[in-house]
Symmetry: C2
Subunit: 159 residues, 2 copies
């Protein structure tokens, strides 16, 4: 069931995609985070203007929303984004745990204008030793000693 | 071929994982970005202390390194991380395009101490309509109008 609110919020995400593009911030992508029927954070892609490859619209909006809520989770929040999230943003969404995501363009639409994240989806599925970027395992036992300390740590904050 | 430098840099990433944990910044994860044999940026997980679900060690280090280089790409850089990247960080790594990634702990080690990203890997592979978080397509045609404008935009910065 799509509501009048949903229509309004997805339109705002699309507006932001245009605003970011027109202001030379980055690619044509916008997103908003909504809680209790109100927008609590907005974002647009700012990769090229801020020299930050992680500044996708969803990541920007999630970071702002969490800052506003004083929480590292987006409990009961909904994300509206002008385009289906890339694997990085999808990961960010799962860590932030909103209750739903509305998106306008599909990843096929994005690929058509040169934003092809198909390569990344393919790479994620590969065995780590078969990836195009070389992944090399090193010093695992030293790393695990710190993990062991985490397990035994008193007063740790899980997430 | 593992070099003396590789051993040194992975040890630094592991040191940072412990430093972040001990200083209550977040989970036990550290990372460094190296260019021309020198560390240009360091990071550790700061999710819980900064209320930022995207503040994983790799994302923190990538953002700092790009800021330092004044570039949204990590050309000729190597990332050393104390643990195999989660899907979000993997996405960030592919967008940043370093030439290699060295990692100490595996994702199975991380799952053992409660950081299980298997769920996220599974979700990424699912069809969008089958995911646990609800994804709803809405207003695609409006979104595509902005994409069309991007295609026709003069002087746009591709990435």
């Amino acid at each position: 069931m799509i509501t009048e609110q949903d229509n309004r919020f997805i339109k705002r995400a699309i507006e932001l995609s245009e605003k970011g593009m027109d202001s030379q911030a980055g690619g044509p992508f916008g997103a908003v985070v909504v809680k209790n029927g109100e927008i609590i954070a907005e974002g647009f892609n700012a990769v090229t203007s801020s020299n930050d490859p992680t500044a996708h619209a969803e990541v920007v909006a999630i970071r702002k929303a969490c800052e506003k809520l004083g929480s590292f989770q987006l409990d009961d929040c909904i994300i509206y984004t002008s385009c289906e999230p890339c694997p990085m943003c999808l990961g960010a969404i799962y860590w932030a745990r909103p209750k739903a995501v509305y998106y306008a363009c599909t990843k096929e639409d994005a690929a058509e204008i040169g934003f092809d994240d198909h390569f990344i989806y393919d790479e994620i599925d590969k065995k780590i030793e078969d990836r195009n970027v070389k992944f090399i395992n090193l010093d695992r036992e030293e790393g695990r000693k710190v993990f062991k300390k985490w397990e035994e740590k008193e007063g740790r904050v899980d997430y």
